[in-house]
């Protein structure tokens, strides 16, 4: 039962060691890269599921790395909130690696070992960031995830290099702000352990240094999650990244940053300090409204499928930040549920964009013509995700939006509710437009006088499977979202807000 005891550490150790294995075996035979990454991520998914099961059974786990007791050693703390996020990360990255196989062989044929090495390292960073209970350890893992992200995006076509460079500059500013904020906390308290900070900080809430520390950490995390108006690096970086990279970074990196914001707000500072001592909730909810409206309008203006999706990410980040800062039980539950739902939905959408790129070579909206005839199964999966993005019951997207709207009403933030509804309408326009385009045949050929022949040309199974599994998952999560909220998410909402 040693595996059972060590499951929080295995989460990070398995993908980390597999990165070395992929690098070494990839030198001899690049066909070994995929199976190693596949097995490692399958084992990681197992470890994550086991960890969540343990949390559900026996409550939060505190794991001491190397046996050093906190606050001296580094501690991994898994509770209901990050247990759920860990399973989401492991699940999405496992499906992403299945999707990646064919996509990488086509888009990056000479960089296969590098791709898989960076891929598993990015997963390591994300899982570590989520599991850790130490503020400085979080910084290191944040940078591991960020550095591998920069490199993965730079693997893309030529425009990706410039986009990745801008991401490096802004991402580094974000991480440095976080580090500086942690420095302020350390000077004031002498501790880096999150649980320890939570107990020491209340006596210092009135000091300006703690206020500055909180703002620095918050701004750093906002830069990392591309919260409006700090989102400028995201659209280009995610558009020009290779398809397989987009499927991993687009769903996970921003969502994990949102998780970190929640973690810092509730487990380092407290809901009392964040929502009552600081008078920031009003302005930040307005910023979230701006993010949602701006992201939606920009998405409407795009004729590039991937770029449209990246602006939707900017809008969705606004959902989650706004939901948390509503400072109500429903708002926070909705935001946490939306982390899971949005990770799955964004994954599906980028898989769809990846399939389109794989099959047609482009990712403009005009490349989608006649797709319903050509790939009926892919389009069925896409339609489910589109309905979930719009928020049609019983898909998962409806329920998180429902909780967010309930939270907005409870907090009296009607502008946030209006923004959510406007964004749903815009999503409806965007996705029905795509469905309309895919129903139409390509233009008539003027010379011959009849349209080119369309035959069924479905996407390969390994690309289709992740899309369909998650599309089905979205319906299942939608039906069981009440259970998820009462059994998992409620435990993370601070008591005073329920």
């Amino acid at each position: 039962m040693i595996l059972y005891e060590q499951s929080p550490a295995l989460l990070v150790v398995i993908p980390l060691l597999s990165a070395f294995a992929i690098n070494i075996f990839g030198l001899y035979n690049r066909r070994l890269c995929f199976p190693i990454a596949f097995l490692a991520l399958a084992a990681t998914l197992g470890a994550a599921t086991m960890t969540l099961a343990r949390v559900l059974q026996a409550g939060p786990i505190s794991y001491r790395l190397g046996g050093w007791p906190p606050p001296f050693g580094i501690e991994y703390v898994i509770d209901h909130l990050n247990g759920l996020v860990l399973v989401t990360i492991a699940f999405v990255s496992f499906l992403a690696v299945i999707f990646a196989k064919l996509s990488v062989e086509k888009e990056l044929p000479d960089k296969i070992p590098q791709f898989y090495t960076l891929f598993v390292l990015l997963v390591t960073g994300l899982l570590g960031m989520t599991a850790t209970g130490d503020a400085f350890n979080l910084y290191v893992l944040l940078e591991i995830a960020a550095l591998t992200g920069y490199a993965l995006i730079a693997l893309g076509d030529n425009r990706a290099l410039v986009a990745s460079f801008n991401y490096v500059i802004l991402g580094t500013i974000g991480a440095s702000f976080y580090l500086l904020g942690v420095g302020h906390l350390y000077i004031m308290t002498g501790s880096l352990n999150m649980g320890d900070l939570l107990t020491i900080l209340p006596g210092l809430y009135a000091t300006r240094a703690i206020f500055v520390a909180f703002l620095l950490v918050l701004c750093g995390v906002w830069l990392k999650m591309a919260f409006f108006p700090l989102h400028t690096w995201l659209p280009n970086a995610y558009t020009y990244a290779p398809s397989a990279v987009g499927c991993l970074v687009a769903p996970l990196v921003t969502k994990v940053s949102v998780y970190i914001m929640i973690r810092v707000m509730l487990s380092v500072f407290s809901s009392h300090y964040v929502f009552e001592v600081l008078a920031l909730t009003g302005p930040i909810v307005w910023l979230a409204v701006a993010a949602i409206i701006f992201g939606s309008i920009q998405a409407l203006a795009q004729d590039n499928l991937k770029k449209m999706l990246t602006y939707l990410i900017v809008a969705e980040v606004g959902y989650m930040v706004g939901g948390v800062w509503l400072a109500t039980g429903y708002g926070i539950s909705g935001a946490i549920l939306h982390i899971v739902n949005d990770a799955l939905m964004t994954f599906c959408l980028f898989v769809f964009a990846g399939i389109v790129t794989y099959k047609t070579g482009g990712h403009m909206l005009s490349d989608l013509q006649g797709l319903y005839r050509k790939m009926p199964v892919t389009m069925t999966g896409f339609t489910v995700v589109a309905l979930s993005m719009i928020g049609v019951p019983p898909t998962a997207g409806f329920f998180s939006k429902w909780y967010l709207i309930l939270g907005a009403i409870e907090a009296g933030s009607y502008h946030f509710m209006v923004a959510l509804l406007v964004s749903s309408l815009v999503n409806a326009i965007l996705f029905f437009r795509i469905i309309e385009i895919t129903f139409f045949e390509p233009k008539m050929d003027h010379h011959t006088g009849h349209a080119p022949e369309i035959t069924i040309n479905e996407a390969p199974f390994s690309m289709l499977m992740p899309l369909l599994v998650v599309a089905l998952g979205l319906i299942i999560i939608g039906i069981y979202s009440g259970t998820i909220v009462t059994n998992i998410i409620q435990h993370s909402v601070p008591g005073g807000l329920l």
């Binding site: 030529n158 990745s164 500059i169 420095g183």
Partner: protein, 130 residues
């Protein structure tokens, strides 16, 4: 004035940080931006290290710490410098070197593709290719 002098280490770090931030955001040449990024990260390292520094303090190793005498030695924390910020910064230095490496590698790729490292010229080429 006394306040300024007694906290000069913090003023130095703020100055360095602003220099780095300015270079990162305002310079046109990509290598200059990378240098600005490096200065910015170094400023934070200076900040951490200076918080752990203490005048006339010793390294945190207890002299004669072994044997029976150890129990009788009075240990005053004020005599020792806090080693933790310095240790943390070893990790942060590694991270910043890694970031520098990735940034320079990307610059190299950009130069191979566009034959220039001036941001406005790259933007022009990107614009023309659309």
């Amino acid at each position: 004035m006394e306040y300024l002098v007694s906290h000069y280490n913090y003023w130095v770090y703020i100055l360095l940080m602003m220099v780095g931030l300015y270079a990162m955001l305002a310079k046109n040449n990509l290598i200059k931006k990378v240098i600005g990024m490096s200065i910015f990260q170094t400023a934070i390292i200076v900040f951490y290290v200076s918080t752990g520094a203490k005048r006339e303090a010793s390294i945190p190793i207890i002299a004669h710490g072994h044997g029976h005498d150890a129990a009788h030695t009075v240990i005053e924390a004020a005599h020792y410098a806090n080693p933790l910020p310095h240790v943390l910064m070893l990790t942060a230095i590694v991270v910043s070197v890694g970031t520098l490496g990735v940034a320079l590698a990307i610059c190299l790729g950009i130069y191979r593709r566009y034959k220039t490292l001036e941001e406005d010229e790259i933007q022009e080429q990107l614009h023309d290719s659309l």
